[in-house]
């Protein structure tokens, strides 16, 4: 793992701690670093050819994002992320996305609607091909269209942070078509609701849709426990 992170930090005008933070976060998201794994400052310093200070700063940033836990006398470890966490996160997402949709109604134009229609078609294609990891990705892009138009920057940022966590359990969705059975159909309904400009209906549809995903995740979690 020899990456010249210092060089790339200078090239991108991005502070070194931020660059290291992105690097470690990505390793956690794609599963190169596993939950419970120790994060060794010394090893990172050696691998990345940099001093420990910016690494320490990056670890602190990752702790505040929830990717790293610092345990007294044990140090920094990659935080756990369970299906229960995923369930709770989708509940939060249901509230946030639904509200974002109701705010976005006034600023969604023909361009956004066209994009949503196209993504909805792609979603349906992904379902037919049983490519559920791709489905989750497009599903999120669909939501991003109206979240980006909500006008609330904190909401946008919050959603981005949650998606970084949700990506850690991407493989969870790969063999569970039931979770999304009703979703792409609802997106068609949602597009019509945006067209008619009804904030209440839009909000209700998004909340119902994502709460349904949350409940399905919970169900799987319970089955896992029962099966274990």
């Amino acid at each position: 793992m020899k990456i010249d992170i210092l060089e790339s930090s200078i090239a991108d005008h991005q502070p070194l701690p931020d660059k290291i933070c992105d690097f470690i976060r990505e390793a956690i998201i794609v599963g190169k670093m596993k939950p419970g794994e120790k994060i060794s400052e010394a090893k990172l310093a050696e691998d990345l050819h940099i001093s420990r200070t910016p690494i320490r700063e990056a670890i602190r940033m990752l702790e505040s994002e929830g990717f790293v836990s610092i345990i007294p006398r044990r140090g920094a470890i990659v935080s756990e992320f369970t299906t229960h966490d995923l369930y709770e996160m989708y509940q939060v997402k249901a509230c946030i996305d639904a509200f974002a949709a109701s705010l976005a109604v006034v600023s969604i134009g023909e361009r956004e609607l066209a994009r949503m229609r196209r993504l909805n078609e792609e979603e349906q294609a992904a379902v037919e091909q049983h490519d559920f990891v791709r489905y989750v990705k497009i599903h999120e892009e669909f939501h991003q269209v109206f979240i980006g138009r909500s006008g609330n920057d904190k909401l946008d940022h919050l959603n981005l942070m949650m998606m970084n966590h949700i990506k850690r359990l991407q493989s969870f969705f790969s063999d569970k078509p039931e979770i999304f059975r009703s979703c792409s159909a609802t997106h068609g309904e949602l597009i019509s609701a945006f067209e008619s400009g009804d904030p209440k209906l839009v909000r209700a549809l998004v909340e119902r849709n994502i709460m349904h995903i949350a409940e399905q995740i919970k169900l799987y979690g319970e089955q896992q426990v029962a099966g274990a």
């Binding site: 701690p17 120790k38 320490r56 470890i77 966490d85 709770e88 946030i96």
Partner: protein, 231 residues
């Protein structure tokens, strides 16, 4: 191998925490004003510390929204504008509203007791003009509702957001609208007691909207007086 770096991080935690607390209090009490620069060097020399824990404290305060770090320029006390306040309360209202709705299904007699006690404590503190005590009880009241709901993620997200607004909590608790805020709390308790989730959500959202209005008014009046000073 060698010395475990993570141990070093852990051992730094106290020092970092202390520095963060010091700076946080200074910002909350407006001893450090929005836009003011804070330098590692100055704090390091004033307290005779090395710069590493200070840098870590800065990062923490940045994530809490107290500081704004500009690459190659250093840290300054973050400015909040009217839009920040509105964006914050919108999200707080949505998540607390949902938590209240769920809480109505789960609430126990003990929970109701706790909420009533907190509301009584707020009134008692108000009578004594104990704004700090009132603020603690106020925060706890809202925290209890999130805890009854039980979603850890909501607790975390709302906690992070609320922390960014701690420096203004005094103004909300001390506002002329306090009696209305407490009346909302009474309505929330009554809705939870009768397990009416929709009403609990409605009143908690109204409560957040009132908090927003108080802070926006405060913010605009402060801005007005600052401009007056400049003239």
């Amino acid at each position: 191998m060698g010395s475990d770096i993570t141990e070093i991080i852990a051992s730094h935690k106290t020092l970092r925490e202390k520095i963060a607390e010091l700076l946080r209090e200074a910002i909350i009490q407006q001893k450090l004003k929005p836009g003011e620069r804070v330098t590692e060097l100055e704090i390091a020399s004033r307290f005779g510390l090395s710069r590493t824990p200070i840098r870590e404290a800065f990062r923490q305060l940045e994530s809490e929204g107290f500081l704004h770090i500009v690459p190659r320029k250093g840290a300054m006390v973050a400015e909040l504008d009217e839009k920040d306040i509105r964006d914050f309360y919108e999200i707080k209202a949505v998540l607390e509203g949902y938590a209240a709705r769920v809480a109505a299904e789960r609430v126990t007699a003990d929970d109701i007791d706790r909420l009533e006690k907190l509301n009584r404590r707020m009134r008692a503190c108000a009578g004594k003009h104990d704004i700090a005590g009132m603020t603690v009880a106020h925060n706890e009241f809202h925290q209890v509702i999130l805890e009854i709901c039980g979603n850890q993620k909501i607790i975390e997200v709302v906690g992070n957001l609320v922390r960014q607004f701690l420096r203004f909590r005094f103004f909300v608790s001390a506002s002329a609208e306090l009696e209305r805020l407490l009346a909302h709390h009474d309505l929330v308790i009554e809705a939870l007691r009768t397990r009416d989730g929709q009403a609990a959500e409605r009143y908690i959202v109204q409560n957040a909207r009132l908090g927003e209005q108080v802070l926006v008014d405060f913010f605009l009046s402060r801005k007005g007086s600052e401009q007056g000073d400049k003239r």
